[in-house]
Each structure stands twice: as structure tokens, then as C-alpha cells.
Amino acid sequence: MGIFDYFKSKSAPSSASVAKDRLQIIVAHERSKRHQPDYLPQMQQEIIDVIRKYVNIGSEDVQIQLDNTDDCSVLELNVTLPEQN
């Protein structure tokens, strides 16, 4: 740190705290996906392909999630259909 750095604004967050915030978010996100089976992305793609045969949707219109609770797994599929004209 040189003499001029002492006059710089102190309000901006340090780069280390930005790094920590970013890491906490991405690591939490990746941990939540850690226990998902490997076939999930491909299954999601195939489900999208089937729906597309009938309805015009984009890949971002389908949310797929697998939740494991004790002795029961729930596959949640959320499809946003386009508005009807």
C-alpha cells in the first residue's frame, strides 16, 4: 500500500469479501446438486423433447428437481406452458 492508497474510499468491499460471498453461494449450490443422480440432466432433456412434440417450450421452461427425504424420493417437474393466444 502506497501513500495514495490511504486516501482512497474505504466504502468498497474488499476483494476478499467479494470472493467469500461468491464462494459461499456457488459452493452451496453445488452441494445441493451433489446427491443428484448423474442421469438427471439427460432425463430432463428427454422430457423437454417429449413436451416439445406437443407444445412449444424452451429448455428454461422446465425445472426438474429430486428431493430425498428419509425413505422417500420426490421427483418434482415444473413445466411453464406458454400463454394461449
Partner: protein, 277 residues
């Protein structure tokens, strides 16, 4: 398969990280040497097939005749392939193969070699290759403990978290629902001055994110490059902060209490600070 407890006598420790270049081999060499210095018969195995480097760091590159893959393929016996360290008593190195393909390591082959080593050694240190592919998974599969080498830097921390996920799901202990692998965080290339000025993640930042017990913090040190230039594990440089910090980490690994040190900023003179040195 002989599982009569022979393998349980030896403690298998994998040194891993996910990311490359964070100091796995430097740490394997230092920690293996440190454990041997404490009187335990120790072998360090280089699992990086195709990119052998432990031999260079340990200064025994010209003594490699047979390697890990030769032993697995029964082209050489274990005693032919093991290199006895010339400086440190109780210490042996099993070099990786340099030319073979990555499929040369098989779970069965590795298990057989580990079981044979476990009859003779108290500690088996597995120096993992970078990545999360087969080589890295092979290095951690039989581990009882893992030392996760991490730099205070975003990509290294993220990759460490991924390797922790693999330790918890793809190891033998996980597959057999046994007690999980002991996890240890080793933070390397730490720069206290940059942490103080908010330019680098601190020890507690990394501990918060990874949430595993801290084994040690190795400060960024010129001694590490100097040691690798000379083929001497840095832990033997007892003049250097890095060497002493590694020795502290080994003591903690053996269950002794050691306060963290070398985390404070080295004071610079007033003039040097003014000039931004």
C-alpha cells in the same frame, strides 16, 4: 482377498485437492518426511501416472528403476520398486509410472499393493494427481484420512469442496458405509499481508466455506521453490517458516496440539510502507 486386519494397521492418508498446482506433491513430500522423522515407517506413493514428479521433489529421480505400475503388473517386486530415502530414516518412495496409460491403475491392483505395504509400513501417503478423474479417485479410494490442500483463492476452494464430495461418496469407506474418511484442511501459499489488506481470503473465511478441521497453514515462502530446486522436502529446512509450519501440521496430524503461527503480518518499515513496497 486378505482383509485380516493387515491393511488396518497402516494408516492410509491421501493428499488431494482437485485443482492442480496448489502444492499436493510439495505437501506429500513434506508431511511424509515429517512423519518418518517422528520415527514412523512411512511410504509416499506417487499416484500421478504419466506425470511423475514426487521423485524430483524428493531428490531421488535418478534412482527410479521400477515403478508403481510395474509392481501392479508383477514386472517387479515391491522391494525392487521402493526407493529408500537417503536423508530420512524410515522413509520410502514408490514412484509413479511415466509412460503408461492412465488405465494402468486398477482398484484390485492398487489394493494388492497397499495390502502388501501395510504389512511393513505404519503410514502410507498417497500423492494424488490433480482433477477428479480416475487417477484422483484411485488415490483416495482406500484412504483412512485425507489432507485437502487448498490455496486461499476462489478456484482452489471450490475444487476442494468438490473433492470433499467425492471423498464422502466414492471412497471405499463411503461405499461400505464405514466411518467416514477423516478430513483435514491444509491451507498453503498463505500471505498474511494480503489477508490483512483484504486482498486474500483468510484462514477463517476458508474454514467457514469448507467446514472441515484445519490441519495447518503454510505461509507463502521462497523456501518452497528453493527446496524443490534442490530436491529436498521443505520440511527439512528448519530455518524456513514453511518448513516449521509443515512440522506443526505433522505434529497436529499425530494428535499433538500446536498453536498456529506465521499468520501475523511481517512489519515493514515506515519508509517502505510510504513507498508502497
Amino acid at each position: 482377498m486378505n482383509l485380516s486386519g493387515d491393511i488396518a494397521l497402516a494408516k492410509i492418508i491421501v493428499v488431494t485437492s482437485g485443482k492442480g498446482g496448489v502444492g499436493k506433491t510439495t505437501s506429500s513430500a513434506a508431511i511424509g518426511t515429517g512423519i518418518a522423522l517422528k520415527g514412523h515407517k512411512t511410504v509416499i506413493i506417487d499416484f500421478d501416472v504419466g506425470l511423475r514428479n514426487l521423485d524430483l521433489i524428493m531428490g531421488c529421480e535418478r534412482r527410479v528403476v521400477y515403478d508403481f505400475v510395474n509392481v501392479i503388473n508383477k514386472e517387479a517386486t515391491l522391494s525392487q520398486a521402493l526407493i529408500k530415502d537417503k536423508r530420512t530414516k524410515n522413509l520410502f518412495i514408490l514412484p509413479a509410472s511415466q509412460t503408461r496409460d492412465k488405465d494402468a491403475l486398477t482398484i484390485e491392483g492398487v489394493q494388492e499393493v497397499l495390502e502388501e505395504l501395510a504389512k511393513e509400513f505404519e503410514y502410507i501417503i498417497c500423492d494424488s494427481p490433480a482433477g477428479i478423474e480416475k487417477g484422483a479417485q484411485m488415490a483416495l479410494y482406500f484412504a483412512d484420512a485425507a489432507i485437502v490442500v487448498t490455496n486461499p483463492e476462489v478456484s482452489s476452494v471450490r475444487d476442494s469442496d468438490r473433492i470433499l464430495g467425492i471423498l464422502q461418496s466414492k471412497s471405499k469407506r463411503a461405499e461400505e458405509s464405514k466411518a467416514p474418511i477423516e478430513e483435514h484442511l491444509l491451507l498453503t501459499r498463505y500471505h498474511p499481508g494480503r489477508v490483512a489488506s483484504g486482498e486474500m481470503l483468510s484462514v477463517s473465511d476458508v474454514e467457514d466455506i469448507l467446514a472441515i478441521p484445519l490441519l495447518g497453514v503454510i505461509p507463502e515462502s521462497e523456501a518452497v521453490l528453493k527446496a524443490s530446486n534442490q530436491g529436498t522436502p521443505v520440511i527439512l529446512d528448519t530455518e524456513s517458516e514453511a518448513g516449521l509450519a509443515y512440522m506443526d501440521a505433522v505434529d497436529r496430524l499425530m494428535g499433538e496440539e500446536r498453536p498456529l503461527r506465521f499468520l501475523e503480518i511481517q512489519k515493514k518499515g515506515f519508509i517502505k510502507r510510504l513507498l508502497g513496497g
